[in-house]
């Protein structure tokens, strides 16, 4: 996990919106994900990336909405996922995008 945190680069990410209801018990994973993504180190990798928190009180499911630079969106419903799973899915998408970007710049 420490390795992935260090290599968690938000260069291909435009915006991350984490919405959850703190009085619900299913918000734990989303909160952990937010803590990982919103840390200083991770945010310094891309200062243009906005990390917003939307705190609700309507017993709805926690949702993490990631918008990438090329317009693709990644929606994760955090009710039954752990923060590790969400993070691994997010990182895998990021690495794919980065490799695509690198290929694009090389050409």
């Amino acid at each position: 996990m420490a390795m992935s945190k260090g290599s968690l680069a938000l260069k291909t990410v435009k915006k991350i919106v984490v919405a959850f209801c703190p009085f619900e018990s299913n918000a734990k994973a989303s909160r952990e994900f937010l803590a990982l993504v919103g840390s200083e180190k991770t945010r310094m990798t891309n200062l243009n990336c906005e990390v917003t928190v939307n705190i609700k009180h309507d017993k709805s499911e926690p949702v993490i909405d990631v918008t990438f630079v090329d317009g693709e969106k990644l929606l994760m419903n955090g009710t039954n996922l752990t923060s590790k799973e969400m993070l691994s899915a997010f990182i895998s998408r990021c690495t794919v995008k980065e490799s695509q970007m690198m290929e694009g710049t090389k050409k």
Partner: protein, 272 residues
Amino acid sequence: MRGGLLQESLASGRMMAATLSCGVSLLRGWLPSVRNVRHGSKAVTRHRKPMHFLKQKLMAVTEYIPPKPVIPDRCLKPLPKRNQEESGLVRILKREVDMMFQNNKMIAVFQNNSSSSEDLLLIKYRLQKHDITVKFFPNQVMRSFLSTSKYINMLPLFVGHNVLLVSREPKTKEMLKVVKNTPQISLLGACIEDTILSHKGVHDYSRLPSVAVIQGQVVGGLTQMTSQTRDLIRHNPLYLSMLLKRYVDQPNNGKEGTEGAEEIEKKQTEPS
């Protein structure tokens, strides 16, 4: 040939002696003079001495492999944990939390997303001006305290990294102003004057006017009904007296006397 063989054996023997312990070389019948002491490294070194390759192999082969249970642990229910007695520190912290809840009217819970110490210092300084203090308590302590107190509904808030902002007087406006521009901490909920409020609740509370203004509004609303009825009751006789007065004040009372009387009668019937 023999000399060559002997030389080879000597060379190999020397190497062996250099690498293996002296005891082994003596067993093989080598005289101490043949022992190659110059290249012998010390046994006790300041750095971690790399294991000899043979020793490494031996250790790898003889590693302990614990026996696997027939049913893996994941498939079985976990054994019930014995309740450990609370340590002294936990008890002291619980007492502190209790005092905090008693003395302070406003206790707001924020989630901090790994804010650096500089940011925290800045926030602390800005809040100090409004007598708001920043507190940290371990989640374990908070959860054990809340589960036995009347604030049990705040339990789900205390998961992960949290910061508590407490103040004697509920100064929500100032607190929200300071926190608005810091992305690192986000408001989860608050307990203001023994009422648990959500994020929206705190914002609505901050928009409330002061107690005196609200009291004035309530009093005004209550007296409004009575003043309306009073006005309705007094409306007719007042109007009648006004008309009579006008009639009396008119210069030509004789000619328009009958017309005036008709007018008054008409107007009397209209409102009824």
